[in-house]
Subunit: 138 residues, 2 copies
Amino acid sequence: MTTDAWLIQLQENGYRLTEARRAVVQTIQTSSRALTPVEVFDIARKKYPALGLVSVYRTLEKLEELHLIQRVHQPQGCQAFIAEGSGHEHLLLCQNCGQVMLFEGDDLDGLINTISKKTGYIIRDHWLQLFGLCEACQ
Amino acid sequence: MTTDAWLIQLQENGYRLTEARRAVVQTIQTSSRALTPVEVFDIARKKYPALGLVSVYRTLEKLEELHLIQRVHQPQGCQAFIAEGSGHEHLLLCQNCGQVMLFEGDDLDGLINTISKKTGYIIRDHWLQLFGLCEACQ
DNA sequence: TACTTATTGAAAACGATTTTCAATTTCAAA
DNA sequence: TTTGAAATTGAAAATCGTTTTCAATAAGTA
């Protein structure tokens, strides 16, 4: 998805297009690693210096609500966000540089069936995240 | 593991045994759902009313360091802790009552190999968590 | 029992996030 | 275009969870 597509998504959901939002959207949409609100703030302010941190929080909130971004959970903290993929995708994170890749095609049906039988649970969702080193960092 | 075993673990690592620690350890060790620091505080204070919230934080810190507890990540937040299993285990959470079960035997080798080849990453770790409904909540 | 040192709870400090508010900007309707 | 209602803004204040500071206390060793 492009930055413009995100802006259109916002507009179609009744939100207005402003300079603050454009700066935040562009920043996070083009990042290959997860960014915290303050990191988004620092980067986006270079394009739009009048930006306030509060607007970053408010825009991230809306982007998350529209499933355009997702929160990234890591041992060091869970405040960072990355663009969401389309469809069912999981995250692969580089433990050195922080780069995030998305991957599809996790087949957990066998595992889920086994666990379901063993525990009596109905399993409705799963989280899977892989950690490692990207090619550049090896 | 029993509560006493946890206390011994603390002692063997150079920490003293105090009433505050006993109350916190017993609370979290016997809970079948993940508890936040304040929840631990509220429960443990019933046994030991003089307990301070600060001691809860400090004890949780030590228990996490000794791998007796682990942080539970959920859509609603990542501040809750649960007793860790022994060995390589993953979490299965009830979305209704919050009960946590541990399970072993995730075979992700095939998946990890595939992703590794596709992306060029060396994969060193993974997080897997299942969400659903426990028998009582179905 | 005496003594060293870890541990305590209360209060203050801190950092991240949210709320409040008056001024500004967007965008639909005229 | 212009107008005007309503959304959005940034700054400041408030709030929340967590950490630090500190003097008093308690644990465990000698």
